[in-house]
Symmetry: D3
Subunit: 250 residues, 6 copies
């Protein structure tokens, strides 16, 4: 039995529901998924400042709950806190962007990202750059209207999202579409066969790849930049985070 | 039941045995693997010219046998023929390099490749470049002696391979080690816990990721650069390859 | 009168003292500087996880205190939280890395970073990459012993730091040396004339460039990716942070 | 007397005719050219899979015939098999893309490629990337209609090709136009003076540069990644290819 | 008292006037600025050939006059001669492009350049590339009409320049606008508040950053690629340039 | 009959002799070469400042003499003034670096540059970067002693140059060696067969490629960034340069 923790770094229970549903559909039969929602933060993350807040909320949840799980997933596109948690936690950690890009790279050469708001594009572009994959990014296209209800963007904007994806293929040369953001969890599945190229989703990709990382048993980092942070003084931190900082005896 | 075809693009049955053993160890319980060995080619591929030959051999085997499988794996590091087969076959296709790099990217930021010969490094470097991942490549280190027996390089050279991996971490800043080449299939598993950072292997990574691609059902390419090649005249080709070229009705 | 707020995102008062002293030496006569120390966090930041914590601490201090200042400086190398704060605050914001790199780029073509620990190098490399300046990075060299006292690293390790800088010039082709990290604040000044190339420091660079940004009056972002985050629901946040999130009326 | 072998890796004799005519017009008076057509393959190459086939066909022809020539040219854009043949053959080898890009780089800074089909663009983009010249690629523009007759695309589509080239200059900032693909052999010559920037062609460039490589006598590779492949076991190969694999005595 | 020399590498006194006015407005109260105009050259520089001429003119003026100044500014966008003068002069040297890009990088992530002519864009693109900042360049947009009077382009074309800047933000994703070229000196200041993102100007940025470089006292280069050129024979040079070439005793 | 003008942008007649001898050996029988030496400048160019001077000297010679020639070669490594002259002259122009890199790219994938002084490396690295070829640069290695006589560096330092080249192959992975700098003109030829990989030289490459550019008749630029500079006011220029600036009627 593989147990996966998915952390929604924003406060929207409706988005956690979408994540949970798609995670369960995606997981192998011997995998259990649990989704936790950030106790503080914003309704959905579309800027660097909101990501900074979400990263800290994700870190708190991960610190408190990781011990019961085989792997942890940061369940927001942009992967707030992912690199830090990969250092701090003793188990594999992945995030929606990283996992979706891995899927995309296994299905074609260049991918486009379809996103839920104009503003979110800069943050996504920087995330792709941080992953070293800018050369494979064909484009980022996004909805350009305010989102009335973040939990219902798929049903409210479904046709527009399809149209954006089709332009990514026809005009930008995308081989694969990444439907980005936890609010779009499950959309790749429900669009199956409607898009002219393969489409991937962060939640299902992250669940599948987390399972693989658990199965591969690649070992953990005792050296290098993902070893636990060197022990040093700290103060004022939530006890669970302080405990993570004591993992490294040296 | 998921059925995976692994194609060894070189002629060494001893290497096919290593591939088969590690593929079976890596596969989920509901996955069946089959390994085929190239009917023509060289003992192992370490140059661009040998890769050119291996690509054609892999294409022939894939064309003849793919119909019985859910996904196909080109089981040589350097992925000879992979991009072409992704166009031509109706099912997901991956290769050892691409799959190992995907695993590495999910486990850390920068990876090093440990390889079996000095000569092979240029071809691997170009493969990483073609994958757009040069920025995440910390180094490629390789054995520097002639290989007495390609099927026994793990046992004959095991300690030297470990020493190379340790230098990649200590001197080159690698977060993850990629043990490269089908002749090293299974080494990551047998070294478990001995290396100071996570280590991944092409065969186990490819098996796991191929399973994920089948499970995700991302859809296939009807447009874009991985759609089937446009129909056009051909001659003199093995019938199975000619048949693949007729997949696209337009 | 220009007022600058420098935020030390870690908890070491001894480092805040170094920052304060160098900031005062660097500031123009009509500039006032104030240094605040993070109320929670770690003794010094050398990993991505520690930076995640420092970013949130910096955000809290900035949110609470920015209104009294003309510009804000994140006073840790690696610039934890900088990009987010640039969105959220109505005044210019810079950080030690960004500012030191700007100085270095005005003094030569390629720069090396001299740092206080081996572990810190990966985080710095990623910060340089995020700034898009990897092509101008000649090398990162670092001390390789545990730091007995973070506030006294300059006096305890001064000669070793000079030796590292000299190797950056002689072996790596550096045109400029960046003495990195708040614990080295003031070292560039005290080494004046001893290094064979220009040397810059994060604190003095940040103070000078913050003054320039105030003087230039370039205007603030109402559009683009550094406009205030779009208003949306939030909960559980410190009031000052919540207030920043309400800046954008739309 | 310099003797050049041009290998058309596809099966279209009409294209071989275009290649032959332009090669003869381009060659110096003391150069003889011979064009061979692939005995198996497709009518023209526009995908990675077709290139894989063409590479093997080109390798067979090169292996059988190279001994009579001073240099070999792979006469398809995309250069199928070029890097491998450069290892395997004892004489200089070049290809249409590589040669045309070399010409373009000697005539301006950024070049655009004008091509015969939409589909072919991805393969060309990857070829430019493999040549490390992506930064100098202004754009790739292509005809967007099915080609009625590959041997007559110049006459049938001449005005459209000119219009594409003009847009590359006016909209994409091209300094030089590369008229790409063996089916356009000779078009640069016949358009002389009609385009607002210099235009180059793969066949004429390859003939001229092959002559130069012969004249420069730069020596051949006994070490490095273009030395002959290390000797190793092989089976089932055409005798001429097997013979090439025995060139390296070690 | 800090004394800055600004060298206009073209012959237009009207542009020197714009430079002088903006430099005086930008300078701190304890800074004196002097602007010199090239005694030979062209009316304004928009090509590489004109920049070559301007570089030599700037070098002559700098060689003759630098001794009275604390820092030198090459006051043309494109920075003709900057890198050479940084080697040759004993004081800090900067240029309008380099300085404006430094400002832009401190204010946002991606910048666009608004320029005065279509032709000038290639030269600016190459200057950004030489600065290693291509990844942060969102776009270069330019006026597309002949300039009736280079000294009055701001007043004649002001609204068109604003419209170009707005498109850079809305269509190209610019976080900051760089108003490029000495003929636009002062425009950022006069547009204050009209553009939706921060805007910077080369002259004011260069004055501010030159002041900072003087204040930081980073030391000069005795080694590395910006040390004075090694002494060697010369002939036929203006005496002031010959004198600069004798700075290095070795 | 093809007539080539080679311009030595420095004042050393002994180097001009080396250039002339190698150019004559390299040229086809129907090609005439003429070498002119800069009337002002330095003994040899190894810095950006010296290149700035050499560029202007080259421009004057080119302006005065180009009319009698079919193509012009800037005969110093680093190509001082090349891009500007390509705009200004009505005939093809190339330079030693650009031409040698083109040869190297036609002979292998990665090249190393062997140079005559440590100091010169930075300028060469920037030249390779400006050519967009940094990804193919394996290394730059250089002599590390003062040059007693620039015209005799080949005979005085021949064995050391060979040893540097061998290290480039063995340690840096070079496929091709570029023997850089006019003072090494002819060395590639005299070392024939002694190096383990192909070696190229700037002068012979430039002569051959210039011949090819003349033969290909690619047309000249009426638009784009290499069209003649737009006509505008100028003053104080040598008449031949002023005449070049009047080429463009618009």
């Amino acid at each position: 039995m593989t147990r996966l923790l998915l952390i929604n770094p924003n406060i929207s229970e409706s988005v956690s529901e979408l994540i949970r549903a798609e995670a369960q559909r995606s997981a192998a039969s011997d995998t259990e998924v649990e989704v936790l929602t950030a106790p503080f933060g914003v309704a959905y993350i579309e800027t660097r400042f909101e990501a900074l807040i979400g990263a800290y909320a994700a870190a708190q949840l991960a610190a408190e709950h990781h011990a019961r799980f085989d792997a942890v997933i940061v369940a927001a596109f942009g992967d707030p806190g992912l690199a830090g948690l990969r250092e701090a936690l003793p188990c594999p950690v992945t995030g929606l962007t990283e996992a979706a890009l891995a899927s995309a790279c296994l299905l074609g050469h260049r991918f486009s990202i379809v996103a839920i708001s104009q503003r979110i594009r800069a943050w996504y572009r920087e995330t792709v750059h941080a992953n070293g994959l800018s050369d494979r990014l064909a484009s980022i296209r996004a909805l350009d209207e305010p989102l009335a209800d973040i939990g219902r963007v798929q049903s409210n904007q479904g046709e527009r999202l399809v149209a954006l994806a089709e332009r990514c293929v026809a005009e930008d040369g995308a081989d694969v579409i990444v439907l980005a953001g936890a609010p779009l969890a499950g959309l790749a599945r429900s669009l199956q066969g409607r898009l002219p190229v393969p489409a991937v989703d962060g939640v299902s990709s992250a669940v599948r790849h987390a399972q693989s990382l658990v199965a591969l048993q690649p070992g953990s980092a005792r050296m290098g930049s993902f070893a636990p942070p060197p022990a040093k003084g700290n103060k004022g931190l939530p006890p669970a985070i302080a405990a993570l900082l004591q993992r490294n005896p040296s």
